[in-house]
């Protein structure tokens, strides 16, 4: 009697969600644009940065205070022109995420620059293309 069970090929990819190859480190950044962008449409841009955003009020397991370490300035450049600027404090959650509007007036790179209170500068950019 032939088996009715579906045979999974040996070389099939695993059905579990793959863990990232390396653990996320401070400064890893992503920018997500919509899949298709029409000219002059207002799009939602999502930007995510991996950052602890420590408030300075917590203590670690051995009782030592964890110093404040957070992103305090974000700038958004679109084709070399600043279109938005965010001032943050440690009240923004860890791995800060932001979604903001942008009018897609031309094909140009969208760049987001994060600066933290310890002098760290992180940036990520994606090319906006009409489709």
């Amino acid at each position: 009697m032939p088996s009715t069970h579906h045979q999974i090929p040996a070389d099939a990819p695993a059905l579990t969600f793959a863990m990232p190859a390396s653990p996320p480190t401070v400064g890893d950044a992503k920018i997500l644009l919509p899949l298709s962008v029409a000219r002059n449409a207002v799009i939602d841009v999502r930007a995510l940065l991996v950052h602890p955003m420590d408030t300075g009020f917590f203590r670690d397991a051995s009782g030592n205070p964890i110093p404040a370490y957070f992103v305090n300035a974000v700038t958004v450049m679109y084709g070399g022109e600043q279109v938005a600027r965010f001032e943050w404090t440690s009240g923004i959650s860890r791995d800060p995420f932001v979604r903001f509007p942008l009018r897609a007036s031309r094909e140009a790179p969208v760049q987001v620059v994060w600066k933290d209170n310890k002098g760290g500068v992180y940036q990520q950019s994606v090319d906006l293309k009409f489709a």
């Binding site: 300075g56 943050w88 440690s90 959650s93 932001v98 903001f100 509007p101 942008l102 009018r103």
Partner: protein, 198 residues
Amino acid sequence: MSSGKTSRYADRGDRGDGDASGDGSANGAMGGATSVGRRGFLRAGVLAAAGLALSRPLLAEPAMAAPRMAGNRGPDDEMIDAVRQLLKAKFGDRKIQYGHVQFDIPTDAPDGRAVPAIMDIDLPITPDSYVSAYYLMVDHNPDICLGTYHLTAASGEGPIETRIKMRRTSYVRAIAEMNTGELWSAAVKVFVGLNGCG
């Protein structure tokens, strides 16, 4: 909301401008439906409608009055001095009106470490009239004004979404500053379980 543009969040209800009389009448009609029959339900509905029609002019409040929930004190009554001073320092004597800001934030936040907040405005956005900045304030946080989002005419219209930390139950205020100088705001009381600020 007295604006020409339809609300993006109409299906979620308008938390910003909760009206005590409207909510009470609706609850009364619902109660009649469960306890008495159809006739009683109709009578309760007529009474509620009559009460609503009568109470509207008696309230004599402007359309953009401070949001007020039944049984709760409003955001202006619960404003602490630190927030008052901060608003004074940031905006001087400019009038901050309630309305036009669509502020989407959960009223219950079991985890204060990450509370999603979406701010939007339902005014028409043009190159001559746009939101120049959104201010996000939490009354009882160590840093009250925890995020300022400066936008330009190149931004266009759309929501700002972010995730914030909250120390304890308090009002969260979203203030939109137009480039013309108008200030519109919304305030929502968020009940926080876990302290997210330390």
